[in-house]
């Protein structure tokens, strides 16, 4: 079975600072995709960043970057220069034939 673990149920960070959200996963597959989704209080799930497992280079999208360690099955999300609008639930997700979500990390950015 494929599992995704987010060990930090809640995190907080000061505005303009950097925060890292952790995610580990377990799979026997070699080809897969990893995602971080953001779900703000309005509840629409929005894709933040994606990573193809066959790519060694870590994905980056503006202030968001990942640290993908395939051997360790680790996929952490770094948010630089945190903004108040980054306050949301963040879900790590793993995709082969279906999307498997972690339990989420509630991130609060404080002014």
């Amino acid at each position: 079975a494929q599992t995704v673990t987010q060990s930090q149920p809640e995190m907080s960070v000061q505005e303009a600072e950097t925060v890292t959200l952790s995610c580990t996963y377990d799979t026997s597959e070699n080809n897969y995709y990893l995602f971080w989704y953001k779900q703000p209080p309005s509840r629409q799930m929005i894709l933040v960043i994606r990573q193809e497992a066959y790519k060694q280079q870590n994905a980056t999208e503006n202030r968001f970057s990942v640290n993908f360690q395939k051997a360790a099955k680790s996929f952490s999300l770094k948010i630089s220069d945190s903004q108040l609008g980054d306050t949301a639930m963040y879900f790590c997700a793993f995709m082969t034939s279906r999307l498997t979500f972690g339990e989420g990390t509630q991130l609060t950015v404080n002014p």
């Binding site: 995709y33 995602f35 509840r43 799930m45 894709l47 999307l99």
Partner: protein, 115 residues
Amino acid sequence: DAMVIQNPRYQVTQFGKPVTLSCSQTLNHNVMYWYQQKSSQAPKLLFHYYDKDFNNEADTPDNFQSRRPNTSFCFLDIRSPGLGDAAMYLCATSGRQVWDYNEQFFGPGTRLTVL
């Protein structure tokens, strides 16, 4: 803009009274998904359509059904809602092309309340 639309955004029903939730998409994606998300939990996949092929998750209760009359629309029917079915229901789609097959695009969700 191409998007995933869910109607209604909020739905109130009575215990045991059938309810239908609607999802439409303008992305021309061939895969459509329904997820159930309870408060502070991860979304749980109920079923998905690959074109017209219906794929039910093993632990989805029989109380939940789905219809996809065409590429654009998909419906979630709850035949006899119980109090435990109160949740946010998310519709998602993923695309036909190889490079975008694996990304899912989510609608805003329908929050279902069961009285």
